[in-house]
């Protein structure tokens, strides 16, 4: 049963990240996602210190705000201080992440987080922390939180599909018909932050990045249709979670690390053998067409 709980939680995290990741890479904002996932750390620690617990709305909201602040700071440094984009991203997220790690060390006694957990999470402990209603344990808390997050993201995408689509592919047209690109930009960033925070305990900061980018990049190589891309990205994420889990068990190592590795492996397979964009496939079809 514990195996199943871990796999399901991982799959929920992977799907949430994969859906948002598609929009991030289409908007050429993959590294901003990376930055946010690091930068929410101080938000998490501060929310922890204020509320004294993990499962509060304070944390989600606090981290959402910090995520938006991060995007804002990156843009500020780029536009107002005229620092090149790559450097503004690099400076901003390392700074916030460093503050987060220092806060954790300073309040080590009060905060139930440690440096390692920040990096690669504690998904193996997910089944231990169960949600209790009445006197009945109804399964791991993380499972429910991630379920709610995934549902929220799906609703966000379903109801904002047109707006997200247009602001992603044709911002000029979107603005012309009265859709605020800024609003949807920050909504998306807020969603990324919230997902990052919720996934934090399970997979840690850097591995959220793997799940945000790798499955979406895989799907991007397999299709030109956004709806298909979203679906395929989820599938790639879930596949990485399942295979990654068993590899981690086999090697007795970090589950999150193994999932990230498998996300990479799946990407490589898609890169080489994708029917439309695969490197081998293209090479083969070229040889075939020359031969005929």
């Amino acid at each position: 049963m514990n195996d199943l709980y871990i796999i399901i939680t991982a799959s929920l995290v992977a799907s949430s990240c994969a859906l948002l990741g598609c929009y991030l890479i289409l908007r050429k904002m993959a590294m901003v996602g990376d930055a946010i996932s690091h930068a929410v750390l101080p938000g998490i620690v501060i929310a922890f210190l204020i509320s004294g617990s993990r499962d509060s709305m304070t944390m989600l909201i606090g981290a959402g705000l910090i995520g938006i602040l991060t995007t804002f700071l990156i843009e500020f440094l780029h536009k107002k201080a005229r620092l090149q984009t790559d450097a503004s991203i690099g400076v901003t997220f390392t700074w916030l992440f460093a503050i987060g790690v220092v806060l954790i060390s300073l309040f080590a006694g009060k905060v139930d987080l440690d440096q390692d957990c920040v990096l690669y999470g504690e998904i193996a402990y997910v089944p231990l922390d169960t949600l209790i209603i009445g006197n009945q344990s109804i399964g791991p808390r993380a499972l429910y939180i991630m379920g709610i997050i995934l549902a929220a993201i799906i609703l966000f995408i379903v109801f904002g599909y047109k707006e997200l689509f247009l602001t992603t592919f044709d911002p000029a047209y979107a603005t012309a018909i009265g859709i605020s690109t800024t609003l949807w930009h920050y909504l998306l960033m807020g969603a990324v932050s919230a997902t990052t925070v919720a996934s934090f305990e399970s997979v840690g900061a850097i591995l959220v990045v793997a799940l945000l980018i790798a499955p979406a990049a895989t799907a991007y190589l397999l299709t030109d249709n956004l709806k298909w891309m979203l679906a395929l990205a989820c599938m790639a994420g879930v596949a990485a979670s399942v295979t990654g889990y068993y590899i981690a068990v086999w090697l007795d190592g970090s589950i999150a690390g193994a999932i990230a590795m498998m996300a990479g492996v799946i990407f490589i397979v898609a890169m080489l053998f994708s029917p439309t964009h695969g490197i081998f496939t293209k090479k083969f079809s070229r040889t075939a067409s020359i031969a005929s």
């Binding site: 460093a98 060390s105 080590a108 990096l119 690390g257 890169m271």
Partner: protein
């Protein structure tokens, strides 16, 4: 306070090692990082930093010891593989570079974490301390390790010193470098190798996760103080060394604290101070400068308008109301009131009740603006063959910018003309 004295007296040889080590590591990273920054490869530096983790683990697994030479070799290999990976993905698929960087970074790091956890559970006693590579520990730099890392740092500095001209040229004008026959590809590969090496030794001080910061943050900060590359490198290395020193000190007084994050906080603070308060490029000064220019333009426009209102009657000291000014040239009443009061303080205007009149100085300044405007219009039509109805906007801008020297030159060039293309008189003092 005692600890501060103890630390900075350097009496303890261990402290001496740690200080020399961390200053050397951060300064050399900062120097290599300056080129990383100028070549716009900041995030590539981040990717390499994450990607060396599996290499370090691999070096440990294969050699069974924590001998830094093996770890450096392993890190160097995976660091390079990650770079090749980013380049391969960007070149052969439709994935963009930033996505490729994020992908390679996180996947390599995931593999590294997996290997690290496997090693930790393997029961190999000598593995303890490998996790220092995650967040860095300057205090762990002792004896033999220092020798290895120090040698690499010195080699890095030497390489940068020898290839300084080539690296600079490539950062600013790649096409030119190609045209004069420099082996561009070879130089780029050398620089990349240096970045990998800098990362490999730098992570000893700050750790994998925050390595990107000591590569690029000192350079980003230094960029705000100078336009000269050698001064920039000097500043970056000083900033880096200072943060390294602070890190070593923190590592000494609070051994439980991770050193890396503190180093990053110190260097980021320096960077943010630079972004905001650097004299020329800093945000605050730039905004102030912009405000001053805006003020000058508004001031001169009001003086110009007052001058023009009286041009026909030739009585320039008539009292006029704000409404009269607005009727001639559009200002918001709020701005105009501010400008009028400022001009009064500066002695360009006099106020009687609700009416304003030019002083002698005010008249002269307004006249000068009108003169430059008309001279410029004439210049554009006679010397650049622009139609007379197309020259006004341009003249409206230049009238606030032209220096007295250029003004004199323009007058001479046009041979002290009497009228502009619209037959308006060009006034002389």
């Amino acid at each position: 306070m005692n600890s501060l004295l103890d630390f900075f007296s350097f009496a303890d040889p261990n402290i001496r090692f740690v200080v020399i080590g961390s200053v050397l590591l951060t300064a050399s990273s900062a120097i290599v990082g300056t080129f990383t920054f100028l070549h716009k490869k900041s995030l590539v530096g981040d990717a390499i930093a994450h990607a060396v983790l599996p290499g370090i683990c691999l070096g440990f697994i294969l050699s069974g010891t924590k001998n830094p030479a093996y770890l450096i070799a392993g890190a160097f290999v995976t660091g390079w593989i990650s770079l090749i990976g980013v380049e391969y993905i960007t070149r052969h698929t439709r994935i963009k570079e930033d996505t490729a960087i994020g992908l390679v970074l996180s996947v390599f790091f995931g593999i590294g974490i997996l290997m690290l956890t496997v090693i930790q559970k393997s029961g190999n006693a000598s593995q303890s301390g490998l996790d220092h590579f995650l967040f860095g520990k300057a205090a762990a730099l002792v004896g033999q390790d220092l020798l290895v890392f120090g040698t690499v740092a010195v080699l890095l500095l030497l390489a940068v010193f020898l290839l300084f001209k080539e690296f600079s040229l490539l950062a600013f004008d790649k096409d030119y470098a190609k045209a004069i026959g420099l082996p561009v590809r070879g130089i780029e590969l050398t620089l990349t190798s240096l970045i990998v090496l800098a990362v490999v030794i730098g992570i000893q001080a700050v750790g994998v996760v925050l390595m990107a910061a000591i590569l690029i943050t000192p350079a980003a900060a230094a960029r705000f103080w100078t336009n000269k590359i050698n001064i920039m490198i000097l500043l970056a290395s000083v900033f880096g060394a200072f943060s390294g020193l602070s890190g070593a000190y923190i590592s000494y007084i609070a051994p439980a604290m991770p050193t890396g994050p503190w180093i990053v906080i110190v260097i980021s603070t320096i960077a943010f101070i630079s972004f905001f308060f650097a004299p020329k490029r800093g945000v605050v000064n730039r905004l102030l400068r912009q405000r001053n220019i805006r003020r000058t333009i508004n001031d001169e426009n009001v003086l110009k308008t007052l001058y023009q209102l009286s041009e026909e009657s030739r009585n320039f000291f008539i009292q006029r109301s704000a409404e009269e000014i607005i009727r001639r040239r559009r200002f918001s009443l709020e701005t105009l009131t501010k400008v009028l009061n400022r001009l009064k303080r500066q002695g360009y205007l006099e106020q009687t009740g609700k009416h304003w009149s030019l002083t002698e100085e005010g008249k002269n300044r307004g006249q000068r603006v009108v003169r430059i405007h008309r001279l410029w219009e004439l210049y554009l039509t006679t010397h650049l063959n622009i139609a007379p109805d197309h020259v006004h906007d341009d003249a409206d801008t230049i009238e606030h910018l032209l220096t007295p020297e250029l003004e004199a030159e323009l007058e001479k060039l046009l041979n002290y003309p009497k009228v502009d293309p619209h037959k308006s008189e060009i006034p002389y003092a």
